[in-house]
Amino acid sequence: MKYMLLINSLGIDGEAGETSFEEWVAYDKSVRDAGVFVAGESLADLTTATTVRVSATGERTVTDGPFAETREILGGFYVIDVPDLDAALDWAARCPGARAGNVVVRPVAQFD
């Protein structure tokens, strides 16, 4: 079963634990070595984000941001394929992002 791990960091004012680049590399390697990796990326800085909305009349609005109105900022994700929620929670707990912020675990919807 596929789960997405949404890796959030806390905003500037949040109390975040320290993580190192090496820890992320090691975690990424362990996800791939275990054969559970489906997809995963880390996202560029939030200042590079752009938001698009389309109104009911089909008019397109493009705005800069969003900026840190929210305390939690999505910084990256993994999609993993594991047997059950407990296994997904284990992978989430091992992610350095769980110490620096939080990791939200969401099952990928199945349409069958």
Binding site: P83, D84, D86, P107, D112
Partner: protein, 422 residues
């Protein structure tokens, strides 16, 4: 229900429903299917047993019947069967060999994994309680709703929501490994203990005690104790609940009013239950560091062993509260410790400790805190301050019997005030 066989059928179902459900969940990996065919098997028993007699192995009969019904259901619904087949493959991938098929013999006891699923931290706390009562205590949704004074529709929605999350987020049916158990067991114990406290001191509503919930909690803890005989905190929890519940007959007066520990007729305490609790305290505290429930059970045992409040071993109780505070600091435990210190060293010493806790946010609005202060002030002859504290306590009380009790204390206090003024 038909006369004669009725009570025995009821008893069998009460005890076997959770076992049957757990075995079916373990076999098919699906709670909905398990509930459906468990109910059908019980309905079949209600039809056949009154005329054919109760079979020699009722649990095995129910399991066989339910399994046949599940196989029929899966034959009819191929898509459902395919989904379950995937679940089975995944379950095998997750852990060691799946549950063995026990054939027609004894019903295997798979309830432990169901305990952990129902108390899974991914579920909201209120859903864990509802699901545990539904699946393991074998209560109907209506019974669970009544116990919590909630409309059946609300409770049904809660149970449906919990089952949906188990199914769609795929919360597994498994017993956590030895390395995970210390992290997960407290969650299971917490569910049982909150069922007990809900039943014992109903926080809302007209009735002070709803005995059925307290007894359901004890029944669940007994099951868990049989499943995890080496876990000392399970012994501690069962011991604690028995040692508290042993006093229940003395806790309510002739007119339904609350009777405090100090005023209870100790002859009405259940001695057999106390003895069982005492043995569990020993099991809970020997062979390792003390746990939260074991220490609380030991405190309850000291109260139960005393002939009256005056001869209670207060120094030992204070020492146990110190252990408890070291294990898990909490303002409520600090409050209880202050009351014990007042009994050991006098009201002045206790009041000083209570005043230190005055700014604890968790004690603001907490009726026992205001009551403890009022009692100590009253004993010190500071009646005006005591009356104020009783009024505060009445304001914060959650049940009518509590308020009635506190109003009587306030009247006593006001009588003392008038006498002092005269």
């Amino acid at each position: 229900m038909m006369a004669g066989v009725g009570p025995s059928i009821e008893a069998v179902f009460r005890e076997e429903r959770g076992r049957l459900l757990a075995a079916l969940v373990s076999r098919f990996g699906d709670l909905d299917l398990a509930e459906e065919v468990a109910s059908e098997a019980i309905e079949a028993a209600l039809v056949h047993w009154p005329s054919d007699g109760v079979p020699p192995n009722p649990g095995g009969w129910l399991m066989t019947t339910a399994r046949r019904k599940a196989v029929d259901r899966l034959r009819r619904d191929r898509a459902y069967a395919a989904r379950l087949a995937i679940l089975q493959v995944e379950a095998e991938r997750a852990g060691p060999a799946g549950p063995a098929d026990h054939g027609e013999g004894e019903l295997p006891d798979e309830r432990l994994q169901l305990f952990f699923t129902c108390a899974h931290p991914a579920l909201p706390a209120e859903d864990r309680v509802a699901l545990t009562l539904r699946c393991l205590a074998g209560l109907t949704t209506q019974e669970v709703a009544r116990a919590f004074l909630l409309p059946p529709a609300t409770m049904a929605k809660r149970i449906v929501r919990a089952k949906k999350k188990i199914r769609e987020a795929r919360i597994p049916f498994r017993v956590p490994g030895a390395d995970e158990l210390p992290g997960r067991l407290p969650g299971v114990l917490q569910v049982i203990y909150s069922i007990f406290t809900e039943g014992y001191a109903a926080s809302t509503g007209p009735d002070l005690q709803r005995l059925d919930l307290a007894e359901e909690a004890i029944r669940l803890a007994r099951i868990l104790r049989r499943l995890l005989p080496r876990e000392r905190e399970v012994a501690g929890l069962l011991g604690l609940m028995l040692l508290v519940h042993a006093r229940h007959a003395a806790r309510i007066g002739a007119d339904g009013e609350l009777v405090l520990l100090a005023d209870q007729d100790r002859g009405r305490w259940d001695r057999a239950m106390i003895e069982e609790g005492q043995a569990l305290v020993v099991a809970a505290l020997k062979g390792g560091p003390p746990g939260l429930y074991g220490v609380q059970a030991a405190i309850a045992a000291l109260h139960d062993e005393a002939a009256d409040v005056a001869t209670t071993d207060w120094p030992q109780i204070v020492a146990l509260y110190d252990v408890l505070l070291a294990l898990a600091p909490s303002p409520v435990v600090a409050l209880n410790r202050a009351v014990a210190v007042a009994m050991r060293d006098g009201p002045e010493a206790g009041l000083a400790l209570l005043d230190e806790l005055a700014r604890e946010p968790r004690l603001h609005g907490y009726q026992p805190y205001a009551t403890a202060r009022a009692d100590l002030l009253h004993r010190l002859g500071r009646h005006r301050a005591a009356a104020d504290a009783y009024r505060q306590a009445i304001d914060w009380a959650g049940t009518e019997p509590e308020r009635a009790h506190l109003r009587r204390r306030l009247e006593e206090c006001e009588t003392c005030l008038r006498e002092a003024d005269d």
